[in-house]
């Protein structure tokens, strides 16, 4: 049971949603956009969140779109992780979605919810950071479309009242070579100690990480080292640790030293498999 009341709105269009947000602001209600609701409901019940209103985005066609055109795959932010995984259209994103929470929860958690949630891992961001994805945002001041990596700096940098409408993934990324490795402390279903997503554009490897530092990370400087074939695989992986923008995380899931060890080993294996042609 959620021990307080809030207003629930379910708009049918982007304009209605923006208007609802403005109206709720005028009424003095703190407002959240609502996708699958897993995190919002959990936090409301636990007392760490008390919104005055939620705006459910699942009846807006642009937010539930899932289609492929000549240039892009368009995925609405209210699409569920399971929907993305089952579609098998963007395998790397499907793998990332399939390792977040359990299957039943994947039927509820949305792409937008994972990207905008408070849980720092936001693992669906990794394939989007690597694939030159674009994102459409909407808010009371209108719609804007921009590069995903410009607006995702560890977390979504949204203007007041903005939400994610959809992401747009260029077609090259859908058929590109990829790898996804996630290590957890014990169980398969858990937050990542180290999660690595890799995507090759032509023969150029791009890699992004979650669980390593305090936010999902993609760095071109790290990519440059990973692609330097003059250096042995393990040395490249060790250099990545030195290029991290902050020290690896240290928490109950794993120590800083263990995360460094795990990332080095994971990257070494990835690079060796790449060099041996088994990826």
């Amino acid at each position: 049971m959620i021990p307080f009341e809030f207003t629930y709105c379910r708009p049918d269009s982007l304009q209605e949603a923006a208007q609802a947000y403005e109206q709720l602001q005028r009424e003095g209600k703190s407002t959240l956009y609502y996708g699958g609701g897993s995190e919002i409901i959990t936090m409301c019940r636990g007392g760490s969140l008390q919104p005055g209103a939620v705006i459910d985005l699942k009846a807006i066609p642009e937010c539930t779109q899932f289609h492929l055109d000549e240039e892009h795959l368009h995925i609405g932010a209210a699409c569920t992780l399971n929907q993305i995984k089952e579609s098998k259209v963007f395998p790397l994103l499907g793998l990332a979605c399939g390792r977040i929470a359990d299957h039943t929860n994947q039927c509820r958690i949305t792409l937008g919810g994972n990207l905008c949630g408070t849980i720092l891992y936001r693992e669906t961001s990794l394939p989007l950071l690597l694939s030159d994805a674009m994102v459409t945002l909407m808010g009371p001041k209108g719609e804007r479309r921009l590069s995903f990596k410009r607006v995702f700096l560890g977390s979504m940098q949204l203007h007041d009242g903005e939400w994610i409408v959809a992401v747009h993934i260029p077609r090259w990324a859908l058929s590109a070579k990829y790898a996804h490795i996630k290590h957890t402390t014990n169980e398969k279903i858990d937050y990542p100690l180290v999660s690595v997503a890799a995507l090759w554009k032509g023969d150029h490897l791009r890699a992004a990480f979650s669980g390593v530092v305090s936010y999902p990370l993609h760095s071109e400087a790290i990519d440059a080292v990973l692609n330097d074939h003059a250096i042995p695989c393990q040395t490249r992986a060790e250099q990545v640790i030195r290029l991290l923008p902050e020290a690896p995380q240290q928490d109950v899931e794993g120590s800083r030293a263990y995360r460094s060890f795990l990332l080095t080993n994971t990257l070494t294996t990835l690079l060796e498999e790449w060099e041996h042609g088994s990826i």
Binding site: M1, F4, E5, T7, Y8, C9, R45, A59, T104, R108
Partner: protein, 158 residues
């Protein structure tokens, strides 16, 4: 646009019948099913989306009813364990395989398995079954018997 500010009457489609319920916008589907419709098959366990004891089906997919607002369920088809009727392939398979001990998790497992059968009418690969079942917990650890029940369920279909 739909907007609810306070207690309202909404209509839910549950087990094939339309049911009027009075809900606050923040009421959870699990509480409404149990307290207003007396459908106590969906069990409150962790109430945190971890254990799966409250699993129901919504539009053919498994959903943890503790993580869904009742107002969100408007316009969708809800199926609870009571709606299975008692003699479905999955229920029979659980009885034959003794796939329970205390039984508290059973209705949740039944609904996950029924959803699996709905989405995969033919026996899927092993890893798919494993993935679906991992969403539910059984503190009595009847996992092997539950796996056997899934096999029997599919055998009964073929």
């Amino acid at each position: 646009m739909v907007r609810y500010d306070k207690k309202s009457v909404i209509t839910l489609s549950v087990n094939g019948a339309l049911q009027d319920v009075v809900v606050r916008p923040s009421d959870l589907l699990l509480d409404v099913l149990r307290e207003q419709l007396a459908l106590t098959g969906a069990k409150p366990g962790c109430k945190n989306g971890d254990c799966g004891a409250c699993t129901v089906m919504v539009d053919g997919w498994p959903i943890k009813a503790c993580l869904m607002l009742a107002v969100e369920a408007e316009g969708h088809e809800i199926l609870t364990v009571e709606g299975l009727g008692g003699a479905t392939a999955v229920q029979t398979a659980f009885v034959v395989a003794n796939a329970f001990q205390c039984g508290y998790c059973t209705s949740g497992f039944l609904m996950v398995c029924q959803a699996l059968l709905t989405q995969h009418p033919q026996m899927p690969e092993e890893h798919v079954v494993e993935e679906w079942l991992q969403a539910n917990l059984c503190r009595c650890t009847s996992y092997q018997e539950i796996r056997n029940a899934v096999m029997l369920m599919y055998e009964a279909q073929s």
